[in-house]
Symmetry: C2
């Protein structure tokens, strides 16, 4: 397929989401992350069946409150359903044309398409600093948030893709945003995208 | 320090050495790999003491025949001595000015300098194909060569640096030469180098 999609996986606190926004802006293509994909899923009607099912488990205003509940041992898992919905949303978005998608295992979901799969990482020091600044938390809280978020990402990625999160073989390039700086990291990705055609 | 050095670590069969040569050519700076560093060490006189010691173990025309013998349980290891010599050679080369150095744990040896640390990897299929072609070996032999060489690199890197070979935190960028192609991989490294100033 000729649509080229940039997928960005990233360590928590590495600036990956911001880099994704910069890349999309530089290339003049849409940007999608978890929040946007969830919004689209809600609006699209994909979610109806899940909302129905979710209501069997607990009352909730949003199916997405279930995003990270533990997997249910008996019966179908809400997480699995949500993953299925997000997969459909991501495939539909990708089919529309070039875009940047951050997270959501998009590299795996779009593995049969023409993708540029990027992994952004950073030094622990820089991740802690960025997390403290953007989340307004203490150093200890930042360290906990980084460790727990990446652990969860890793587990979810493994569960849904069978691949290992952060393993180089899954990505076209892996970039250290501490060494390069976020602006240059974004420019580098945009340049790769332009030249790969 | 202001000298910028490009260090390239690479999976066997990923085209990393060739990419290094291309980068050096594009930037008009010297290229050094294991063979060149060994030659310089021999010519520099650094090696004298080691040759003397090596002769205690076994007769040999070259100290470098010892490069990969097992480490000696009693007394000093020849490998350790060779690593010390290569470290001195690499530091001297780096002090002279910008250059490209492939392998030899140069990323670690030059960790206090201004370096662009690159890791090149490739798909297994591509590595096997390239190894069969360049080494004139069978598929099975190529697979063995790839696996054994990278295992040895990994062990040596760990032993001398305390770091894990291929771990993203040691590198500025990690590039998949299968996805990008060797020519574009080289061009991106050169471009990063030019832009980082």
């Amino acid at each position: 397929m000729s649509n080229k999609i940039i997928t960005i996986s990233r360590e928590f606190g590495s600036g990956g989401k911001y880099i994704g926004i910069l890349v999309a802006k530089k290339l003049g293509i849409p940007f999608y992350d978890k929040d946007i994909i969830e919004e689209i899923a809600k609006d699209s009607g994909f979610a109806d069946e899940v909302i129905k099912r979710a209501s069997e488990y607990a009352p909730s205003k949003s199916i997405f409150a279930y995003s990270f509940v533990g997997r249910n041992a008996n019966g179908e898992s809400i997480e699995d359903k949500i993953f299925a919905i997000q997969t459909r949303v991501i495939k539909e978005l990708a089919a529309k044309g070039p875009c940047v998608i951050v997270g959501r295992s998009a590299d795996y979901i779009l593995k049969d398409m023409d993708t540029l799969n990027v992994f952004i990482y950073a030094s622990q020091k820089e991740k802690v600093k960025r997390t403290m600044s953007f989340k307004g938390v203490s150093q200890k809280e930042a360290e906990k948030l980084i460790s727990e978020t990446d652990k969860r990402r890793s587990i979810n990625y493994k569960y849904y893709t069978g691949q290992s999160w952060g393993d180089r073989e899954n990505y076209t390039v892996m970039l250290n945003s501490t060494d390069l700086g976020v602006e240059k990291t974004a420019e580098f990705i945009a340049e790769l995208y332009r030249q790969e055609d």
